[in-house]
Every structure is written in C-alpha cells, then in structure tokens.
C-alpha cells in the first residue's frame, strides 16, 4: 500500500478530514471564484453554514457547461502565477474544458495515482509502458507522475506506432501496460500478427482507463495478454486519472476520499441516493486549489460500495461505470448503453472484439445496426452457419437491449482501431 494511514483510515476519521477540507474548499471558491460566490449566495449557502458532510447537499451542482461558459480560465480559484500546468478535456465537440494545476495540485494528483498504481499491483520494480497519448489529455501525465512516484521505470511511449510498442515491450521487458482497454485489445491483435507470443513478453499488469469497459472486455484483455487487468477512473475536470482505481481483488474502484467526496444522485431529479443504488456519480474536490469543483456531475452511471474490501482499504468503492448518460442512446424510446452491446458481443465466438453501433432514421423509426467483424474462417464452409451466427447475435441483443437490431458482419479490420478512446457509436440521426 502506498499510503496506509490514509487508505485504511477509520471511517469517522476520514469523515472528519473530509469535513475540514470541504469547509476550506467552499471558503476558497466563495472568496476567489465569482461564479461560485453567486451560485452559493443564490442558494443561501455561506462557507460558515457548512457544519456537517450532510450540508454538502445544500450546494448546487456544477455541470460541464459551467466550465464551457467560463472558458478557458473563468473558474480558476488562484491567480495564473500559481498555475504550473494546464490540461484540457479531449472534448470532441465544442470548446474543450480547461483545467489548471498548482504545484500542490500536481503533488496531490501524483499521490492519488501512486495509490491506485500500487493497488493495481505495480511497484518500484516494474517497467511501465505508457501508451496513453501525451498532451493536453490528462491520462499519460497522470499515470506517469504516479508511477514515477512509486519508483517504476517509465517508458513514455505515448499512443500509436503499435508495431514499435510491441518491439519495445519485448526489448525493454515492460511489466506494466497503461492504455485504454480498446487500444490494448488492438495491440494484442497486432502482437499476434507479428508472431509475438505471450511467452515472448514480460507483461504482468494492465492499468486501463480513460474509457469504460465491461467484465467481458477485462476477460479478453487478461487472456490475450496473460495479465491482471485493472481499471482506474478519473476525468480531466476532477484531476485526470486518480479519482479511483481497482485493487487486484477487482471489487470496484477505491475512491481517494481524502481528495474527492462521492455522491450518487438520481440524474432526473438530482435527489441523493443511498449507497448501493445506481445513479449518476457526483464528485466534490476537497483538496484541489487550481480549479476546485463543488458537486460536479460526471454523467457517469455507477453505484457506491461501502463494504470493506479484502485488500484492507477502508475507502468507498465505485462499481465499473455502467455507461455515461452522455453515451446513452435512445433508440425507439429504449435506453441503450454501448456497454450493454459490448457485454453481448465480447462473449460471442467467431467474431473479433471490435464493434461499432450505427443508429439511423428509417423514415420516422430509429434503426440500430451493430457492426462486427467475422474473424473465424471456419464458418465460411456453410452459409447457414454464418446466418446462424448473425441470428444468435441478434437474439442475444434482443434479450439484453429489448430491441431488435440489425447485425452486419464485416471483413476483419474494417472497424477503425483507436489508439485512444474508441469510437463505438455513429449516430446518423
């Protein structure tokens, strides 16, 4: 364990620490960020009125658009001279959301990542290959700082150049791989094509993040690489990776609660839900200086698990993200998460683990097409077997989604391979 005192802290002590830091954070944003001053005044909340963690619920939510409306630096709580680093969301649409870090923020960030890195199995003896893109995106720099902190030897590969990744992995005997799950899957495919076998590489652990994935995806990653695969969670608005991460028991992601207070809300009503109930994750940063956020709505759907983990950490865990309310497709009035489709497809034989969903409008009716690659040539013997495969995928999707989807088999490698976050959905509506 990287920081036993914090990671195994008794609940009452943790809550006292959280309350103290929450008060300080509310005071800081109230005094330094005009946006928050107005928000809090409108809601009748003064820093002095925060007496218990329950009082958090009186504070209004912050949403992504608040960051966009104050682009680029409007929500910063410190003067620019105290900012030592700037990152931004991968924002595919519109302006990116921009965040700034003070020196203390960078320290807190690497501390949080160091904890999750060790929880995931890595130590100072490891050689860690970082295949996240270095840049405005927080993923690479975050894992880099945390791994460096625990003393691992870092190979800052960045993403892409996959053949070279495999070569370096063999030659430098990388023991830890950091990437998105979808890119790791693609790398495994390239490795097989190059004729490199599991026994030719030294990889032991995969630390995956930056996009959600299913248990089926984990199973694929573990068997294709011969590793223990864990997932970690974060988003640039909150800090980047480091909000939470799984330990090797894989029982959910341990939240760094001394820095982040999690809540689960009903995304429709904003009502705070009990532990164990499924809803939208809301996070309050309580140690960040550069751009503290109060009750930030992550749009990620998950559940909080309060029970103590076999690893001994006392922190609250969050389940794998079951989908982002952003990613949720409404097709013929049915809510569909790409993760549901993934859980069906990755359990199927004969097809590759890459897929894409295409939603279109057929007149006034939505149509869902699921595109998968036929990988196994043994089915070419008979047309009826291919049709049976299509039918069985379609049937399983029907059961899981409650929706009839068209299944299209395509040639291998026709679905674009991503070096970062995979693009799973094409919405043509």
């Amino acid at each position: 364990m990287w920081n036993k005192a914090i990671e195994t802290m008794r609940r009452p002590d943790m809550e006292a620490l959280q309350l103290e830091r929450l008060k300080a954070t509310v005071g800081r944003v109230y005094n330094n960020v005009p946006f928050y001053r107005k928000r809090l005044d409108d809601a009748g909340v003064t820093p002095e009125s925060i007496k218990s963690l329950k009082d958090l619920q009186r504070i209004p939510f912050t949403v992504k658009n608040d960051l966009r409306d104050h682009y680029p630096f409007g929500l910063f709580a410190v003067p620019m001279k105290d900012i030592v680093r700037i990152h931004a969301s991968s924002g595919t649409t519109g302006k990116p959301t921009t965040v700034g870090y003070t020196r203390a923020d960078l320290e807190m960030w690497s501390e949080c990542v160091a904890r999750l890195v060790m929880a995931a199995g890595a130590t100072g003896d490891d050689v860690a290959q970082i295949a996240f893109g270095y840049g405005l995106f927080t993923g690479a720099f975050g894992l880099h700082a945390g791994l460096e902190k625990v003393g691992a030897a870092i190979i800052p590969m960045s993403s892409g150049n996959t053949e070279k990744q495999i070569m370096i992995m063999q030659d430098y005997k990388s023991t830890v791989l950091v990437s998105t799950p979808s890119y790791a899957l693609y790398m495994a495919e390239v490795m097989a094509e190059m004729g490199v076998k599991q026994s030719d590489i030294a990889l032991k652990y995969g630390l995956f993040g930056a996009e959600g994935s299913t248990e089926e995806m984990r199973a694929q990653l573990e068997s294709r690489w011969g590793i223990i695969a864990t997932e970690n969670y974060g988003m640039s608005e909150l800090v980047g990776p480091g909000v939470s991460g799984e330990c090797i028991h894989k029982t959910g992601m341990h939240i760094n609660e001394d820095c982040f207070i999690p809540e689960i809300i009903n995304p429709e009503t904003g009502e705070v839900l009990e532990y164990g109930e499924k809803g939208e994750l809301v996070i309050t940063t309580i140690l960040k200086e550069g751009i503290p956020l109060l009750r930030y709505r992550t749009k990620d759907i998950t559940r909080l698990i309060p029970e103590v983990c076999p690893c001994g950490r006392t922190s609250i865990r969050m389940e794998k993200i079951q989908g982002r309310s952003d990613d949720m497709l409404i097709i013929r009035g049915v809510n569909v998460f790409p993760s549901q489709v993934e859980s069906v497809l990755l359990g199927m034989p004969h097809i590759s683990p890459h897929y894409q969903l295409e939603v279109s409008k057929n007149g006034f009716v939505d149509a869902l097409k699921v595109i998968v690659e036929l990988e196994d040539s043994s089915l070419l013997e008979s047309f009826s077997q291919l049709e049976a495969l299509e039918k069985s995928i379609r049937h399983k999707l029907q059961v899981v989604l409650g929706l009839d989807a068209r299944v299209q088999l395509t040639e291998p490698k026709t679905i674009e391979r991503s070096m970062g976050k995979a693009k799973r959905v094409i919405d043509l509506r």
Partner: protein, 144 residues
C-alpha cells in the same frame, strides 16, 4: 481425389471483387471457376484456382477471412439429363449437396461441376461406382 477450393468472406461493397481478382492477377493466380453466394451485407466467394496456397496467402495478407476446403470435381456428359444422373446417385445414397457450381471448359463433350457435399469420402465412392469421372488435380491443371 479432392480438389482445393478457396472461400473468401467479402463485404458487399462495389469494387471489392475487382480488387481481389486484380490481386490474383498480380500474383499469377489463374481462376478456373468461381461462385458467389450473397446476402445484402456480405458474400462468400468460392474459387478454384491454379495455385490455392498462393491465393489463400494473398487474401489473408490483404486482411480477409479465407479458408481452403476440399471439394469434389466431376466431369459429366454434356447432354440433357447429365447432371441429373450424377446428382441422383448421390441423393439415393443420402448424400446431401451443400452447394455446387458448374463451369465451362473448351470441351464440347463434357461439363464440369464442383460439389460440396455432406460426406466427401462416401460421395467419392458412390460417384466412382456409378462410373462418373472424378476430376483430379492433373485434370484441373490441363484446363488452365
């Protein structure tokens, strides 16, 4: 004797066949017979070629899913009822035909047919006993 057939999974995209056949041309693979079975999305292209190993390697390098299968080639009299006679001996003995295709040759007396059946060994025996000529690799080679 069985003949090697190559099956290729292709998407229904315009230009796909042209691309694949062009590749074969470049590698000196000659096509003797072909058949396509298709749905709206995809098709299976089946080929009898001069050099199945090169053909399979070529399409796999190109990134396509392909498979080599053993099929039976027969030569039958080019007369009305010729094919019917050959097929009925198989069906009489419970051998079902999964797919088949015929191809033209320069010979005026005989027609050639490629058969994919439920049981290759059994079918060969039945056909031979019924006096139907089964094509060998050597026979095929003379046709290129």
């Amino acid at each position: 004797m069985l003949i090697k057939q190559i099956s290729i999974f292709i998407e229904n995209k315009s230009g796909r066949l042209a691309q694949i056949t062009k590749l074969f041309g470049e590698r000196g693979v000659n096509i003797l017979a072909l058949s396509i079975a298709d749905t709206t999305d995809f098709g299976i292209l089946r080929l009898i070629v001069s050099n199945p190993e090169v053909a399979e390697r070529t399409v796999k390098e190109f990134g396509l899913t392909a498979k080599t299968t053993d099929v039976i080639g027969i030569s039958i009299p080019h007369i009305p009822g010729g094919l019917a006679q050959a097929l009925s001996v198989l069906s009489d003995d419970g051998i079902s035909i999964e797919y088949m295709y015929a191809f033209a040759t320069c010979s005026e007396d005989n027609a050639m047919v490629i058969l994919k059946v439920s049981d290759n060994g059994e079918a060969m025996k039945i056909l031979t006993n019924s006096g139907i000529k089964i094509l060998t690799d050597a026979d095929i080679a003379t046709l290129f």
